[in-house]
Point group: C2
Chain length 374, copies 2
Amino acid sequence: MASQCNRQGNPLYFPSKQPSHRDEVKRLHLTAEQQVAALQQRYLGAVYDRLHHVVPQDADGTYPMLRYHLGWEEADGTPSSTSGGKALRPVLCLMACEMAGGDWHQALPAAAALELVHNFSLLHDDIQDRDITRRGRATAWTIWGIPQAVVAGNAMRVAADRSLTQLADSGLSAPTTIAASRMLTQRYMEMIEGQYLDMSFEESGEVTTAQYLDMIGRKTGALIQSAMYMGALIATGDTRSAEAIGQCGRGLGLAFQVWDDYLGIWGDPAVFGKPVGSDIARKKKSLPVVHVFQQIRGADRQRLLQIYSAPEIQGADVETVMAMMAEAGTDRYVREIALTQSQQALEPLSGLGISDDIRRQVTAMAEFFVTREK
Amino acid sequence: MASQCNRQGNPLYFPSKQPSHRDEVKRLHLTAEQQVAALQQRYLGAVYDRLHHVVPQDADGTYPMLRYHLGWEEADGTPSSTSGGKALRPVLCLMACEMAGGDWHQALPAAAALELVHNFSLLHDDIQDRDITRRGRATAWTIWGIPQAVVAGNAMRVAADRSLTQLADSGLSAPTTIAASRMLTQRYMEMIEGQYLDMSFEESGEVTTAQYLDMIGRKTGALIQSAMYMGALIATGDTRSAEAIGQCGRGLGLAFQVWDDYLGIWGDPAVFGKPVGSDIARKKKSLPVVHVFQQIRGADRQRLLQIYSAPEIQGADVETVMAMMAEAGTDRYVREIALTQSQQALEPLSGLGISDDIRRQVTAMAEFFVTREK
């Protein structure tokens, strides 16, 4: 860690600079993490059963790519011990169903659909960003090539549709099934608009923090919004409470992504699995980068522009950018945005008759989203 | 044309070899073409209205790519005079709705959805096949790059979903709306499986004609099947007649694609817009190529393998392959398959109470599919 110091010789990352924040975060985090783990334990078996049910088991064709990407199999078709990700969207969908007083089992087709839509977008994102690893494994396009990986993404998306149409089989009324599907389509359209904006931001020069937050609201927030909206709608058919619970989801999605951006620079390498400053090295235009570009002036700004004009950013330059972020208060800014978003996410729930138990769960989720270390 | 002769010195293409077939085709074609044109004239204004309604008009973002691909705009956003394609899937969907005794206006959301799903697949296909022109213009990925074109395809697909959810607004019952959507999902999954197989065939060595026909049944037949199924289902809600009419669609789709493969080699360059033998030059593994590989033996086979092992196939080798096809009777074989498929496509309709007028229209469509020159 000795080399990772800023120009004042202080370590660049939060341990020494914000001990009180970190301690508090640790304390909150443990409780929140335990509660979220309990929720996951409650739902995930049924979610995975449903996912295995809708993704075809064919030995040939495009489906082995899907099972590989989902972490169920290796590229040669043998079983994999890879973790399949956090499955947050299904968990939030099922929790929202319970928040609105429903039986979460009825929302399982929607929960599985959300996980598949999310994984569809990851498959295509990996191609677009030319990312070569995901969850510690080679990305699908690096194994099967871009054309096949594009098709695998499309197949993942149609598996999601397939799951969603099964809502009607679980006894849900046809109009509510249509309303759920319509909401997913609408939010999914926003997600694609967000992906487009994300790519344009990577190419364009200046992006404001407001533009950036709007983009991630679409790219990440919209799908989580539809997760919680659908869960609530399935419970009651009542669109008013589903709207409020959906708004909570959008806020949580934003908070989740901002914290992801935080971890992408200041995450603990031993836990987060990526080197400190990794999003700088990757030249990813995440919120910290957008913020430092917006704040910095004069010679430092010229230096920053020069660093970002190179095709890759190397170790010493990563440290320089991190030092500029420290001066601009970027880490504090990003943490505060994450925290504010996660708190504001709970506001739309205030008028709803949600049990104390479930309210504790969603609060834990909101805390977990902005305290998690990976 | 002098250079385009086979080893016996005869012209390679059908004019001199099958005059009677061609004359009959000409005669049938004129009538069929006029009837299909009348159908298109009847429906297409409303289809385009609907398409313009569901594809967002935003000046920025991903949507200008969609409007470019659809032939409505140029890359700089100015209006385009390009033809947007044949819109066969919407026409077949609306015709099927009338076949089953319905009001075709009610099927417009499905018709528009089908055209968008089809164009979504073309956008991604162009990337996968690295095709640089479509309908005489640069393909989207050559202008905006692969990542943006992948996103544009996804946005096209979600515009399709958006259109489909509007079925319920046109007074269709919710269960029928769900059944239509479910069928589209199922056939769309087949279409993706077909795309996967198509790509694997391009990479693999031997493909039988049976495997090839199975592949195009999925890649092209399945979506046309769902077009006619949905049109019929929307008319009556009766799944039995919709199944039969859908089966007709699958056969028509197969016939259409086989004839496309025929035109890809023996099409009239002045009408079809591509040089004679173009699918050979492109090394496309279409039905004629699959057939000649399956038929040819001995030294000719070695020569064929050698020609296809080169990265590109040049003029003289294209002629050699066409001469081999002439010897193997490939042109006759492909025409017969197309004709048989188009005739068999009408069989499932026999038990249904379809008016003579509509029966003439679908027969004209079946004839047009295997006699068209472009």
